[in-house]
């Protein structure tokens, strides 16, 4: 196994740029630490974290900092180093985020199964779980696969080697600030948008770099058409930027403190928050992963996408309809009824493009069903499309007002979310990774196809146990809340309904544990695959097409 220094692959200029950014970050970290220390504000801790983070990355950078310029042949191959790093980082987040999730799941059944310390309470751990899995695992996986897909479908190398690292590492700094912030009590209390103002600003910088990097790569493409997977990745990048900026508009109490106050209040804030919240589902957890699905599923099945027209209708339908549906989170609240009605209407219409997208993926498998049977990797992707279809159906159903009156505030919502994130996002990611790891590391195959099979069934069992437990508890609790005695009084106290949840909470935690074990097996399998010997020669077609004109030096 030839050990190659990743830093030495950067040009001298790129190394200098990286060093410049890291020094700047370290200075910002020190300034934040000093400012926070002056008023005993938790921003002090974040300052130190930023400082340590930049020093750690700097230490890695220094290992190859003084190496000679990399050979020009690098430009004849795709730039895959940040993709490899992204996959490993994503798997670390997966284990961390899912372990946190399972811990908080056990806490709901056994509330004292924790440390008697502020950081270890459910309220602080829960956003650590959601951020760890959605943004840490999901986001890193999206960034890594998007770099892979955009290069292959454009037949062009990434335009430089600095930006992809800046995006990946910078994004992970954001995730670390988010997660460490919740531990020490820094949060905006906006669901899925908890990080405070300075972390939000940092993410904007990273995200704009990401968009520019993506567009610059597309500009270098040798294919006249932009492939559908890239439309989805583009929509993911652009719309997440819009959502993030609008929902996080806030005034900091002080520039030397972590706390900020949202620009909006009450009903306007609620609508903005759920416009954001539901479209984080739409454009982070759906559009980005559809990009993944549209590339890796046809590649693995060795079948072209079933219908070009369905791709178009699905894409624009999802992009247009999703933005209207956030208000279905606010049925029967103080939000004006006309907005709620728009939310239901569009939620129902949304089913059409969603099922078109899922159907298009499943029809692609026509002629390759024997592969689905034999290849667990492809089966991961197939089941992801199935669960995507199921969870979008369930979502539209739950958006209907009378259904929502029962399901809202209960575990049914939790079940629905997990059909989506475990059944759809995690399965497509695992499928993509199992396909991608041997391709990227130039290994013949995964270390153990049998373990991929084991992972598939563990994931399936864990997911179904989880979801059935939460469906049961949600519907039972919803019904108990509205049950009346013959005399016309409420039959159950809130406490009665909570006690009824206990067995389901245990079942849920067991389901989550099975899913987590599957993820650990995936980590082992990926690690052992990387340790396998490389195949002699990379396939000749896996290269960018040369540019027609000679390249200026990078």
């Amino acid at each position: 196994m030839g050990k190659r220094n990743v830093v030495a692959g950067l040009t001298v200029n790129e190394r200098q740029r990286a060093m410049g950014v890291l020094i700047l970050l370290a200075i910002i970290g020190m300034a934040m630490a000093a400012a926070g220390a002056g008023r005993a504000d938790p921003i002090e801790t974040h300052g130190f974290i930023i400082l340590l983070f930049s020093l750690a990355v700097m230490a890695v950078l220094l290992k190859g900092y003084f190496a000679p310029e990399p050979p020009a042949e690098r430009l004849t191959a795709y730039y895959d180093d940040p993709i490899k790093a992204g996959i490993i980082i994503a798997m670390i987040w997966a284990v961390f985020g899912m372990a946190m999730g399972d811990w908080v799941a056990w806490l709901l059944a056994f509330p004292d199964m924790t440390f008697d310390a502020p950081w270890a309470s459910f309220g602080r751990l829960r956003p650590i779980h959601t951020t760890g899995v959605i943004f840490g695992f999901g986001g890193s996986a999206l960034i890594a696969t998007s770099f892979h897909v955009v290069q292959r479908t454009s037949r062009a190398r990434l335009p430089d080697q600095f930006s992809p690292w800046f995006v990946l590492i910078g994004y992970n700094l954001f995730c670390i600030l988010a997660v460490s912030g919740y531990f020490i009590g820094i949060t905006q209390s906006k669901e899925y948008a908890e990080p405070e103002w300075y972390a939000d600003i940092w993410l904007v910088i990273v995200w704009i770099t990401y968009l520019l990097l993506y567009l610059r790569t597309l500009a270098r493409r040798k294919e006249p058409h932009i492939y559908v997977a890239n439309w989805y990745y583009l929509a993911f990048i652009i719309v997440v930027a819009i959502l993030h900026i609008v929902n996080n508009l806030a005034i900091p109490a002080s520039l030397t403190g972590a706390k900020s106050y949202s620009l909006f209040s009450g009903v306007q804030d609620a609508m903005t928050q759920w416009w954001y919240g539901h479209n984080a589902v739409a454009f982070f957890l759906t559009a980005g992963f559809l990009g993944m699905l549209y590339y890796y599923l046809p590649k693995r099945a060795e079948r072209p996408i079933y219908s070009y027209r369905m791709s178009i209708i699905g894409f624009w339908g999802i992009t247009f309809f999703y933005m209207w549906v956030g208000s279905h989170h606010l049925h029967y609240t103080a939000l004006p009824q006309w907005v709620q009605t728009l939310g239901v209407t569009f939620s129902l219409m949304l089913l059409i493009p969603s099922w078109i997208a899922a159907g298009n993926a499943l029809m692609t498998l026509n002629g390759a069903w024997h592969r689905v049977r034999d290849d667990a990797t492809l089966r991961f992707m197939m089941m992801a499309a199935v669960f995507y279809g199921l969870s979008t159906f369930e979502g539209s159903f739950m958006a209907i007002r009378p259904v929502n009156s029962l399901s809202h505030y209960t575990d049914w919502t939790v079940a629905h979310v997990h059909v989506g994130v475990l059944g759809w996002d995690a399965l497509i990611t695992f499928g993509a990774f199992y396909a991608l790891v041997p391709w990227l590391w130039k290994r013949e195959r995964m270390h153990s196809p049998a373990l991929v099979e084991v992972h598939f069934w563990l994931a399936m069992a864990g997911l179904l146990i989880y979801v059935f437990a939460m469906w049961n508890s949600g519907i039972i609790q919803g019904l108990m809340w509205r049950t009346y005695n013959d005399g016309g009084t409420l039959r159950y106290s809130f406490l009665d309904t909570m006690i009824a949840m206990h067995p389901y909470y245990i079942a849920r935690a067991i389901g989550g544990l099975l899913f987590l074990i599957g993820t650990l097996i995936a980590c082992y399998n990926i690690w052992m695959t990387i340790r396998r010997p490389a195949i002699a020669a990379a396939p000749a077609h896996d290269r960018p097409l040369p540019l027609p004109t000679p390249q200026p030096a990078e």
Partner: protein, 241 residues
């Protein structure tokens, strides 16, 4: 239609602009009018603002992620009104930056929990919920009682809140720290606090310890004001019945 798309998908910037336009329509139509249509939020001339101590308590509520399990939004459903009280009006969270309507009731709704239980009950419950409610699955927050409240920079918080629309006066901002301490110290001079925030201001040692103003004081003060900033919900719904 598909012919046009065949051309669009060859131009990345056209694609970018098209995505921005198509994705912006829904949000613009649903959110922008909420700021301009007057009926969106009811008017309540008598609505009061959070005192610095209550706002500090609200910040602790947020810091601990209470919103993950407790909603503050009673829906217009009969069983909810009977269980929690009159349904929530938009005006009641007018000064909530951000709102804490929540999305999950692992525990009960808290929109009108103010005054429902005694301070002692809250302090004991937060210290160890299972001492008061044996089947409770809420975490313990015993450290709140031992943590002195950080009051030195509350003026910054009030000032930022004024900039986003909460009508704090210069006087309220100038006295933020003193008012926070006074509200939890009934033996001190509380005349200024009452003058600024009104006769209804609840002044007492919320955690039962007169020696120090703790985070427990602030959180309980906040919980005891929930649903009491405005009386707008009470008369309308009684009349409607």
């Amino acid at each position: 239609m598909f012919g046009t798309h065949y051309r669009i998908e060859r131009k990345s910037l056209v694609l970018v602009v098209a995505i921005i336009i198509v994705a912006s329509i829904g949000g613009l139509i649903e959110i922008a009018p909420l700021f301009t249509i007057d009926e969106t939020v009811e008017t309540d001339p008598h609505m009061r603002v959070y005192t610095p101590l209550e706002q500090a308590g609200r910040n602790i509520y947020m810091r601990e992620g209470c919103y993950a399990c407790h909603s503050q939004m009673i829906r217009t459903l009969q069983d909810e009104v009977e269980r929690y009280g009159p349904y929530s009006l938009a005006v009641e969270s007018k000064y909530d930056h951000p709102m804490l309507w929540g999305s999950k009731r692992t525990g009960p709704d808290l929109a009108r929990v103010g005054g429902k239980y005694s301070d002692q009950w809250h302090a004991a419950h937060l210290t160890n919920p299972r001492d008061v409610v044996p089947e409770s699955i809420m975490p313990r927050y015993s450290f709140l009682r031992a943590t002195p409240l950080h009051t030195a920079y509350l003026a910054d918080d009030l000032r930022a809140l004024r900039r986003v629309g909460v009508p704090y006066t210069d006087e309220m901002i100038a006295n933020a720290t003193a008012d926070a301490i006074a509200q939890a110290s009934p033996d001190d001079d509380t005349a200024g606090l009452v003058k600024r925030y009104g006769e209804a201001t609840q002044i007492r040692s919320f955690d039962g310890n007169n020696d120090a103003v703790t985070e427990m004081d602030a959180l309980v003060a906040y919980l005891q004001i929930l649903g009491k900033l405005s009386t707008a919900a009470q008369p309308t719904q009684t009349a409607a019945r």
